[in-house]
């Protein structure tokens, strides 16, 4: 038990912060504690959660993927077009995932083969992908997506839990397994922690980075599918600015922007905290502009805590060393 406590210290703290936030909201408006509000919170964390877990992979390798908001729009448009033209919805989903993977792969190509800095490379593709979305649609939304597609994600389990919430949890579980149980996971942390050392110890750095950006693209594609099912239409302007919230969720969950540190569970709680904040602010009827203020404060507090934790670790290590001497 104690081992779990130290291993997942960060995650537990973020979860506790979420609970405290929930208690504050409940104190201000008891309605917050309804089952339906809980459902709303989980529904509203899905898009950000999926984007966050994707971008976390890119961040783990010491990179970033700013293009996710645009990939999100392209996948929505592509799948919407497939569905409207009568393609089998499951094939359309596969096509959408493929689009996400290809767009992610292109980011990987820029970062590894062309050796561009991830920030600049994905800043470029961010504009590029958005442009493609505008060009393909001519700016017009794609509408009338059939229910046969929408029901795959929108259907409900008893208790009102939507399928897309389950999809998100499944993605997080897969991400957790990749990161903690597979060699690929070890490589991702190794590349982000110290790329030179990883290379010298025989890690295929290029391949690992490709994987990170492909996972980012794929998770974004899943988010695009959920959005399409939820709205029934796709627009070229969808997802503008969503990458900032995704980065925030990952950062609050303890993902280090320098790479090498972060977990799927932490990102999950980071996204949950932001969703609690978003829904809570509406429930207590605070002007949404305050959300930005509070979100900002939370990100700053969370990263300060991260910084402090490093300090404490160094302090205790020194202390131990002194004692042993």
């Amino acid at each position: 038990m104690k081992a779990i406590g130290t291993k997942y210290k960060r995650e537990i703290l973020v979860f506790l912060a979420t609970v405290i936030l929930g208690v504050v909201f409940t104190a201000l408006n008891p309605n917050f504690l309804m089952w339906r509000t809980m459902l709303t919170i989980f529904q509203q964390m899905v898009l950000n959660g999926l984007l966050a877990v994707g971008i976390m992979f890119a961040i783990l390798t010491g990179g970033i993927d700013l293009s996710i908001g645009c990939t999100f729009a392209i996948v929505g448009i592509a799948v919407a077009n497939c569905c409207v033209k009568g393609m089998n919805p499951f094939l359309a989903i596969l096509a959408g995932l493929l689009v996400g993977v290809v767009l992610g792969m292109f980011n990987g190509f820029l970062v590894t083969n062309l050796k561009l800095q991830p920030f600049i490379a994905t800043l470029g593709t961010m504009s590029l992908y958005r442009g493609v979305a505008y060009v393909v649609t001519g700016g017009a939304p794609v509408t009338n997506v059939p229910d046969s597609f929408r029901n795959i994600f929108n259907g409900q389990l008893p208790g009102g839990i939507r399928y897309y919430v389950i999809v998100m949890i499944a993605v997080f579980v897969i991400a957790h397994i990749i990161l903690s149980k597979t060699r690929t996971g070890d490589y991702l942390y190794a590349v982000g922690g110290n790329e030179e050392a990883a290379k010298l110890s025989g890690v295929n750095v290029a391949k690992t980075k490709y994987i990170a950006y492909i996972v980012s693209g794929a998770c974004t594609a899943v988010a695009g599918l959920v959005m399409l099912a939820s709205l029934g239409s796709a627009e070229a302007t969808a997802g503008i600015g969503y990458e900032t919230n995704a980065i925030a969720a990952a950062a609050i969950g303890g993902t280090s922007m320098a790479g090498g540190r972060g977990t799927a569970l932490g990102t999950f709680f980071g996204a949950l905290l932001l969703a609690v904040l978003k829904v809570g602010m509406v429930v207590i009827n605070v002007d949404s502009f305050w959300q930005y203020v509070v979100t900002g404060l939370i990100i700053i507090a969370a990263s300060y805590f991260e910084f402090m934790k490093g300090d404490i670790a160094a302090f205790t290590a020194r202390h131990k060393k002194e004692r042993s001497m």
Binding site: Y134, A140, N154, L231, T237, L297, I298, A301, Y304
Partner: protein, 393 residues
């Protein structure tokens, strides 16, 4: 170490107190009875008093504008005293619209990815063809390229157009471009929002009226009682402020028994407005209607309402094609259409009249109408009683 813990605690305290302060401001509309209710009314009254005060200020600056001054920054075309409709202008100046073949008009718009602006463009093209004129139309790709739009405007002035028709991205990004156009004796016409206080004329729908029409329609449908909520667009936009204010003022001025229980920003984003509506539906089981500052957000809200299976009325503004389809499908309940196609024609007509030396008011209100299931299939020209301008060469 102690200091650091203290710092974290202070940050947390700050965050909590912020939430708490905000909650005091917003919570009075949450429980709709007792003392907090009167609080809401009082604060509403305060707000409308404030609006009236600023209105006077705006009228003041308005007068100076009429005399050809640069005009105050507080220019509000919705409250301009000399505002006229196109019918009134035709009556006053005669039906004939003077045109000279060598007049060149320049148009600067934003975001052709938005159907509203695309339709406006079609209106300009139709007007150009009818009048036998060349119109140079330029637009930015998105609604955030403020400097790009400024560059376009300056380039058109340099190329020597007779008049500029502009729909700026913000209230300020074209200010300097308009000043240089005015210096070069180019007629400047501001079409729809944002606002350019320095422009010679404003042509566009009365956004305040948008909100009033929506409130009146909802009141009729609900028997003038029940809870309503408002989804606003980004608050820096003039249209968002005016539409919301028009809606609220109608309820206040008509002693309506409808109660506004919530008002939140959704950044003009469909997904965000849907999520907002989801939360509201769980929080306000008695919610009867939601007014949205535009159709995009209304279509998101419609999805949330459909999912919940409730029969909340949803009203948008703009009249985009998707909104019409949604009304026909029985999902969206109504939209306030500003008929951009005809707005462009009115704008061109006014511009030509002004170039020819006719005296036009500082603000021209373009046609608008509420569209619901009853008139959704009616011809737009019939709804607004449109007569094409009579161009004479």
């Amino acid at each position: 170490m102690k200091k650091k813990v203290l710092a974290v605690l202070l940050t947390a305290a700050m965050a909590v107190s912020l939430t708490a302060c905000g909650a005091n401001g917003g919570s009075n509309s949450k429980d709709g009875s007792g003392s907090s209710d009167t609080q809401t009314q009082e604060s509403d009254r305060d707000a409308s008093d404030g609006a009236e005060n600023s209105e006077e200020g705006e009228n003041g600056s308005e007068d100076s504008k009429g005399q050809g001054d640069a005009g105050g920054k507080e220019f509000n075309p919705d409250k301009a005293e000399d505002a006229m409709s196109i019918e009134e202008i035709r009556e006053k100046n005669g039906a004939e619209v003077p045109v000279e073949a060598d007049w060149k008009l320049g148009v600067v718009m934003k975001s052709l990815s938005n159907e509203f602006w695309r339709t406006l463009q079609e209106g300009y093209e139709a007007a150009a063809e009818d009048a036998g004129l060349t119109i140079d139309i330029q637009a930015t790709t998105d609604e955030s390229d403020e400097t790009g739009q400024q560059t376009m405007t300056e380039a058109l002035t340099t190329q020597g157009v007779d008049a500029l028709l502009m729909s700026p991205i913000s209230d300020s990004n074209l200010t300097s471009a308009v000043e240089s156009a005015n210096d070069a004796d180019v007629l400047t016409v501001n079409v729809n929002d944002g606002l350019i206080a320095e422009a010679n004329h404003y042509v566009g729908p009365n956004a305040y009226m948008n909100g009033q029409l929506a409130a009146e329609w909802i009141s009729n449908k609900l028997g003038d009682e029940g809870q309503v909520a408002i989804v606003v667009g980004m608050a820096k936009a003039f249209a968002a402020r005016e539409r919301t204010e028009g809606f609220k003022d109608w309820i206040a001025d008509n002693n309506s028994k409808m109660e506004i229980v919530a008002e939140q920003n959704a950044d003009w984003d469909r997904q965000k407005s849907k999520e907002l509506a989801n939360t509201w539906i769980t929080q306000y089981p008695e919610l009867k209607a939601i007014f949205c500052n535009n159709d995009d957000m209304a279509l998101g809200v419609v999805e949330a309402v459909e999912e919940s299976g409730s029969d909340i009325l949803v009203v948008g503004v703009d009249g985009i094609g998707e909104a019409y389809d949604s009304i026909r499908a029985g999902k969206l309940d109504a939209t306030v259409d500003s008929f951009p196609f005809y707005m462009a024609q009115v704008a061109v007509e006014c511009t030509l009249r002004s170039i020819a030396g006719q005296k036009l008011p500082s603000a021209v209100a373009t046609p608008q109408a509420l569209i619901d299931s009853e008139n959704v299939d009616k011809d737009a020209a019939e709804i607004i009683n449109w007569t094409a301008p009579a161009y004479t060469k």
